[in-house]
């Protein structure tokens, strides 16, 4: 990767430099206002946009959940018809998994990984923007179904043949199949980008085993995505081909075996649940040491167990199929493999507790959410082990016992961790803290509501209440706990509204000056992102940090004195970088958003009219060429264009802007 001289902001074609790409279209200059967001290639802006969009979908997925709960508040509820109910739980699950937790994790990954490894951006900034916009359009596309004849109604795992045209004749399942396909492309693009970034763009001295645990977990997650997404891609293709082109993959009268879909879906689906949880595991592995003022207990063990969870997650998928007719050998095998996932996970839990043990625990908001992850996730994990006992699962599966399990791990685990991350990194991203008092109200309301909403589901499940049932009868004896659950859900709503209020109020206060500007290192942090000002300057680092240790920044602040006792030698805020250098940054680009817009067009065309697909394809190809022909911001970049199918990223003109400003020498890599 070569480095450039000082360069003008807008680049024309390099005269005489035959190997840089041609500059047919001008790139937008440093735009302001909304343009600065739409065309940005800055990983921080992209991260924030991921977060904002994910929170929007969280609101929507939450409303869907509340409608479900309203229906189940009383026996024989009349709030929803069965049809509406089926669409709502399908879209609630799909939304929460694909449009909330995954992009929220992507938000943190995008924002924090480059900072944590001391890089100025990700490897391919334009690809990064592409991933965001594809995700945005994918989410919109999926939800368009509400306005075009009704949402998908096959459940989030969409078991064939119920999701075929015969049994689900509306367009809903088409939107599901194509929408997830689009969201999958977004994740794949992002995954490759982050993998390359983490493998290749760490600050000097930051070996793999000096990387922050959050970055590590994100790396594991990106590998899971890299390998899991193709499988659901194929599953969805088979489903789409069945629905759109009359193929026979799930046509039983032609001899299809419906278990094929289940295998393909869960081969993706189980790694997916670790995709959802590992980022949060990474986040609490950052916050717990900081707020315990102790290093992470067993850093390498936590890293290795994270990788082990990722790895073992590939061998357990059929635990979702214990009653599908796998046969006893398969059931026994998958039952055993599933149980042992508890080992690496348990190691993490106990190491976190050991981290806090003997510490000096500061119960800030990030800490409170982190501790609640440790305890709530454990409950969910343990019910997971109960499901893994296959014969017992024949009584549990498809009841609310399962619903309880996965909300404990998803909400109590993944979401709690992500909220910890929000409170933790908010000052870094925006320059001010969220109000502590409101935050505490948010926390307690959510914790209480969460346990009220999902705790009783264990009981309901054991009483035999089946999931995905749009009603239950008065004779079933489920009334009491269902009422509690619904009330709990609304308590969560109250908590979340407090959170929203907090955001708005703190922001207004910050603008007015009543909420103070936070320094670079408000929490006495340990990792590199705290060594730069808050909010993060556009170029991240003035000087690329040279790293010599795990938690390197902390070691800059605390050093052993003559007796070998650790002493604070410097104040983090004083030694942080000033953000006053102005290295060259990649210019924004129009193409990511344009290219992304082509995908929903193509998909809509597949449902309604192939002409639209044609237009979408033209737009796709056109923007690929536009992308490649765009002037590079770097003479070394631009390998020319070639429409290869994983995105035209090889020309990565932006890939090379790692260090430009202070360095003058041009040196080829090889």
């Amino acid at each position: 990767m070569a480095i450039t001289e000082e360069r003008p902001e807008i680049l024309e074609l390099e005269s005489g430099d035959t190997t840089s790409s041609t500059g047919v279209f001008a790139r937008p200059t440093n735009a302001t206002g909304w343009r600065a967001w739409l065309f940005t290639v800055d990983h921080k802006k992209i991260g924030i946009m991921y977060g904002v969009v994910a929170m929007f979908w969280f609101l929507w997925g939450g409303i869907e959940a509340l409608l479900i709960r309203a229906q189940l508040f009383t026996p024989n509820g009349t709030v929803l018809t069965a049809d509406q109910y089926n669409q709502l739980f399908t879209m609630h699950g799909t939304t929460m998994v694909f449009l909330v937790i995954m992009p929220l994790a992507a938000a943190f990954a995008n924002y924090m990984v480059p900072l944590q490894i001391g890089a100025r951006d990700v490897a391919f900034p334009r690809m990064n923007a592409l991933g965001l916009w594809i995700f945005v359009f994918g989410g919109i596309f999926l939800n368009l179904s509400w306005f075009l004849g009704g949402g998908p109604d096959g459940g989030w795992f969409a078991y064939a043949p119920n999701t075929g045209v015969t049994f689900s004749p509306g367009a809903g399942m088409d939107f599901y199949a194509l929408g997830l396909q689009i969201a999958g492309i977004a994740s794949l693009v992002g995954a490759i980008n982050l993998i390359v970034t983490i493998i290749n763009m760490r600050a000097p001295g930051m070996t793999m085993l000096r990387m922050p645990v959050f970055t590590w977990m994100i790396l594991v997650v990106q590998f899971l995505l890299l390998f899991a997404l193709p499988v659901i891609t194929v599953a969805l293709i088979l489903l789409s081909f069945d629905r759109t082109f009359d193929a026979n993959f799930f046509n039983v009268s032609m001899g299809a075996d419906p278990l094929l879909w289940q295998h393909l879906f869960w081969i993706f689906g189980h790694p997916e649940v670790y995709i959802l949880i590992l980022p949060s595991f990474g986040i609490v592995s950052e916050t717990l040491p900081v707020f315990s003022r102790k290093p992470l207990f067993g850093y390498s063990v936590i890293v290795i167990s994270g990788a082990a969870i990722g790895f073992m997650g590939w061998g357990v998928w059929a635990h979702h199929m214990f009653v599908s007719g796998l046969g006893p050998v398969g059931v026994a095998a998958f039952s055993a493999t599933t149980m042992f996932i508890a080992v690496p996970t348990g190691v993490k839990i106990l190491n976190w507790i050991a981290t806090m043990w003997g510490g000096n625990l500061r119960f800030t908001l990030p800490m409170m959410f982190s501790v609640s992850l440790v305890s709530m996730f454990t409950i969910g994990g343990l019910s997971g082990v109960m499901h893994a006992v296959a014969p017992a699962d024949t009584q549990q599966t498809d009841t609310y016992f399962i619903v309880a399990h996965f909300h404990y791990v998803l909400f109590g685990g993944a979401l709690m961790g992500l909220f910890a991350g929000m409170y933790y990194w908010w000052p870094k991203a925006f320059g001010y803290r969220l109000n502590d008092k409101l935050g505490k109200w948010h926390f307690w309301a959510v914790l209480l509501g969460f346990n009220m909403a999902f705790g009783p589901m264990h009981i309901l499940g054991l009483q035999g209440m089946a999931r995905r049932h749009s009603r239950y009868g008065p004779e079933d004896g489920f009334d009491f706990w269902n009422a509690v659950v619904t009330i709990g859900a609304f308590v969560i709503l109250i908590g979340m509204i407090i959170f929203a209020v907090n955001i708005v109020r703190s922001w207004l206060g910050y603008k007015e000056g009543t909420v103070p500007q936070e320094p670079a290192d408000p929490w006495d942090g340990r990792t590199l992102e705290w060594a730069i000002p808050s909010p993060t300057p556009e170029h991240n680092f003035d000087y690329v940090p040279v790293v010599t240790d795990v938690d390197d920044f902390w070691h800059k602040k605390y050093q052993p004195d003559a007796n070998g006792k650790l002493r604070k030698v410097a104040d983090g805020n004083a030694i942080a970088q000033k953000g006053d250098q102005h290295p060259h940054l990649p210019s924004p680009s129009y193409w990511p958003i344009v290219l992304a817009a082509a995908l929903p067009l193509i998909a809509l065309g597949l449902i309604y009219n192939l002409w639209l697909t044609g237009i979408g394809l033209v737009l796709l190809l056109g923007s690929m060429f536009g992308w490649s022909l765009e002037p590079a911001t770097d003479p070394d970049a631009g390998h020319g264009d070639h429409g290869d199918d994983h995105g035209p990223e090889e020309d990565g003109p932006d890939g090379n802007d790692k260090v430009e400003a202070e360095t003058a020498e041009e040196a080829p890599v090889d």
Partner: protein
């Protein structure tokens, strides 16, 4: 630079050994051609029980040759091997398990869907 830069994982990166000479590649191609001819021969002559194993072995050998030589994996950085081989091995393991479970581990039923037995 080398001292501070983190080139810890990979020490082979510097000497980009680009494999064979053109003649070497042509030889490889000839070998591949011959192997393919053997494969096709199984269609014309009966290899008995050896047929499937030999086809599989030939396939793996051809695969290996293309990957090692044409794709330089043998000479290139280990990072590439890790990336590719992880995907490959994962694919083989997972789909072998899926296939096994769908073909061999079924409940013994021994009758078709529409009759008592």
């Amino acid at each position: 630079m080398e001292t501070v830069a983190a080139s810890e994982e990979d020490t082979h990166a510097e000497h980009h050994d680009h494999g064979l000479s053109d003649v070497g590649y042509i030889k490889i191609a000839i070998i591949l051609g011959v192997l393919t001819a053997v494969e096709v021969a199984t269609y014309f002559w009966d290899f008995g029980i050896l047929e499937v194993p030999s086809l599989l072995i030939l396939m793996v050998v051809k695969f290996q040759i293309v990957v090692s030589y044409f794709m330089h994996l043998k000479f290139d950085s280990k990072v590439f091997s890790y990336l590719f081989v992880t995907g490959l091995v994962l694919a083989m393991a997972v789909f072998a398990a899926m296939g096994t479970s769908m073909v061999f581990w079924q409940d013994p039923s021994g009758c078709d869907a529409s009759s008592f037995c």
